[in-house]
Symmetry: C2
Subunit: 482 residues, 2 copies
């Protein structure tokens, strides 16, 4: 292992299990598996690419025998460096990307059995002819296995929930006992027959076992969508608007995405072919992208019994003018979402982005945002906050930019200071989370240690020890400090 290369015996057995296509050994071939989407950059002696559950079982037995450590990887879109090896060269990459033969749809049950390596886009392409989709809405195109290991959320969580809420079953291969197959594939909406073991693998960063297949609940593709970009009278009005929308059309509320004026300004400046939905030179201090959706078709014969989302949204917003909102653009959903989805790209044009993925009770969002903006202005006035957030689920991307061309030279140390300042505020003052959607990996494990109670780390460590006593699976250790 490591500096000495793979043992001849291990290599020969891996070749037998995996065949030509399944084993990459050339550094050039391995390159794209050792760098993460945002963080993580290491090296490996080999990438293992099984194309069946049985090959995964064989790999795990073999690697356990040789005490060979593995890093699991799906589509490698994770943002916390959990799916790429470190620089030691001691880890092999176990890529699940070729595990994608099986997609079996049960239309009546609104469920699908799907191999872990299938990507979100591939799954949705298979579901689409049946009028169904898997509603986790993300910028990236992760694999289903990776989505489970990270418990991804997305912009439509308020209506559909996260991956956990939509996972009916799975199968996994355990590292201990080596190669043990845990088959929990029931496609059931309710099944209370003992501890729900599949929960162990959700949000596990790949540390608890290798997910090979999932059974997912899927949903009907919306037949109607109504969208608006709304300018609240002030910050408090953002929450007031959310309350009103939940009350008047909560059955349909699908997204409620806050966008700061700074973020909108940046999109208008840097992204081509996007025009200001409001007056050309008027960028509001803050605005909210609202989406309603329904699986019901629009019935437009004028009777009172149909569901017309645009009329419902229009009427609801109309009643908010004056006290709650001061401007609104209704319709043009694609244009409005393009603004929302372009923020990250726009921010990169401004300088070095410092990204946050935090959440808190909705009732804390106002106070947190005011306090955090003030702290940043006082202590780090040269850093520009350009935040946006999923207010309806308490999520906030309190992103910042360290502008290029500044006297103040970019400093990793100062960025760490800023991270700690913001995370301390979120977790300790506002009882929030320092990782709402992205999970835990080497990138943020130090913050896990900082904010997780000793009791929780002890128990997490015991469970991880049950599943992987020799620490052969992944880089993330959830136990007490290493």
């Amino acid at each position: 292992m490591g500096d000495d290369g793979l043992s001849a015996l291990l290599l020969s057995d891996l070749k037998t299990i995996l065949g030509e296509l399944g084993l990459l050994l050339e550094p050039a071939d391995c390159a794209r598996y050792v760098s993460g989407a945002r963080y993580g950059n290491g090296q490996t002696l080999a990438v293992l690419r099984p194309d069946s559950h049985q090959q995964v079982v064989a790999i795990v037995k073999l690697c356990s025998e040789h005490q060979q450590a593995l890093v699991l990887q799906g589509a490698n879109t994770g943002l916390v460096a959990a799916s790429t090896p470190d620089a030691s060269g001691h880890y092999l990459v176990l890529s699940l990307e070729r595990l994608k033969k099986h997609i079996v749809i049960d239309v009546i049950n609104r469920s699908v059995e799907v191999d872990a390596g299938v990507t979100l886009q591939e799954l949705n392409a298979a579901l689409e002819p049946h009028g169904l989709f898997f509603p986790i809405d993300l910028g990236a195109n992760p694999s289903i296995g990776g989505m489970i290991a990270a418990n991804t959320g997305g912009a439509r969580l308020i209506k559909y929930g996260d991956v956990r809420k939509n996972l009916l079953g799975l199968s996994a291969v355990l590292m201990h006992p080596a190669g043990e197959e845990l088959m929990l594939q029931a496609a059931l909406f309710k099944n209370n027959t003992g501890p729900d073991l599949k929960q162990l693998f959700i949000g596990s960063s790949g540390a608890h076992g290798i997910i090979t297949r999932a059974v997912l609940q899927v949903h009907r593709i919306p037949q109607q969508i109504a969208t608006a970009l709304v300018v609240p009278c002030d910050q408090a009005a953002v929450l007031a608007l959310l309350q009103i929308l939940e009350q008047k059309c909560g059955d349909f509320l699908t997204a409620f995405e806050g966008i700061s004026g700074a973020a909108l300004q940046s999109v208008l400046k840097h992204i081509p072919n996007i025009s200001n939905p409001f007056a050309p030179d008027a960028v509001p201090d803050y605005c909210v992208l609202v989406e309603l959706s329904s699986s019901a078709e629009l019935i437009s014969d004028g009777s009172n019994s149909g569901i017309n989302l645009e009329a419902i949204l229009d009427r609801c917003l109309e009643n908010c003018f004056g006290e709650v909102i001061e401007n609104a653009v209704i319709g043009r959903g694609k244009d409005l979402w393009r603004i929302r989805h372009s923020i990250s790209e726009a921010l990169r044009h401004e300088g070095k982005m410092i990204a946050f993925d935090i959440s808190m009770p909705r009732s804390s969002l106002l106070a947190f945002r005011a306090q955090a903006l003030q702290s940043m202005a006082q202590k780090y006035p040269w850093v520009k906050v350009m935040d946006f957030g999923h207010w309806a689920d308490g999520g906030m991307h309190f992103n910042m930019v360290w502008p290029s061309n500044l006297a103040q030279v970019y400093s990793d140390e100062v960025v760490q200071e800023i991270r700690t300042l913001i995370y301390d505020m979120v977790v300790r003052e506002f009882h929030g989370s320092f990782s709402a959607e992205h999970g835990i990996g080497p990138y943020n494990i130090a913050y896990y240690q900082r904010y997780t109670s000793q009791a929780a780390r002890q128990l997490s460590g015991k469970i991880q020890h049950c599943l992987d006593p020799h620490r052969l699976l992944g880089l993330t250790w959830f136990g007490e400090s290493v």
Copy 2:
């Protein structure tokens, strides 16, 4: 312990911790804690009734020291004998019913922090002035801690999900390390910071630790409800109707409860003041109670932008007449739900009830029901099947009655044969569950052993061993056979 009574030292320490009100020793006082709602009947030397989290911590430390086993009990409404002691007298009952000081509602976050001993009805009474409720709809009035330990579902699961989907956080006291406090009370809709330890306690039958407080997501009380009792043209049409309702008004679909003609007939015969919603002498072969609900108020000014549920349901059913449904009664929600909720009581008038709490993929319901009815008619023709079920979530109460006044004398052995026949069919042929909502306890642990894979039992046993190595907590052992 046991036959020798409690040691003087343990007794004296318990008195110090719990005081007069907190410790019951007289058999007459203990009586109501040793018999379960449906199964379970044992004895105990004492009932411990702490009224604070700190008292729970002290009890656990003390009992761990004395190796004194405990059975946890909430409102004692469980149906699998998990919350009552056995006949050995070795268990003390730890009742959480006095743990009910704390109910803190966060209206903006739609969440509530609530002590484990608060009952569902008490919680809903506290939420009601805020226009909120906890939407798990049950016949019984369990405690919140018990609902988590059983992961209860209920008749409106299709809209709101089960307890698991509505649990944001909890605090628990662990048996090992004795008295360790696991405080996971974040009121967050998303929080992916390592393994989600609260999942260990959901559906655990009280075997993993003592839940002292929960943080729940709550929902807006519906402002509009539309109800109908619908007669499908045939069994296949039940699923067709479900598909149409999900397509046309899925945003509102709250309940879809199948009722067999035999069950309806029994209600009409035995329950006073319930009249046949259809023609006086016409009991259909099968009917379905449909409920739509919305948090939006009815806007009745005739404009097209309001939401009028009764009109929506009416229109939807109108289009189904002929091919899918042959009759429907709309409105009279309370009367219709009274029929549904009276079934269990009515069946008891018919003879000895044999209750089932099974679930399967919705796509299997038709085939299962046909095959199970046929098997019962062939092998046990004297047993009357009088089933009903939550078709939308795949749940079925395939209940039966062994009529009184039969030549065929009631036999526990034959009933076990019938149980095994039905469960084998559900689990092995139709990939379903033998316990959809009620969980696992001494009553059905043998079926847990029968249907749970060795790999799953091994892992469950390891986890339970981490949390309770000396088996002091509850009667349910999830590991491999005892």
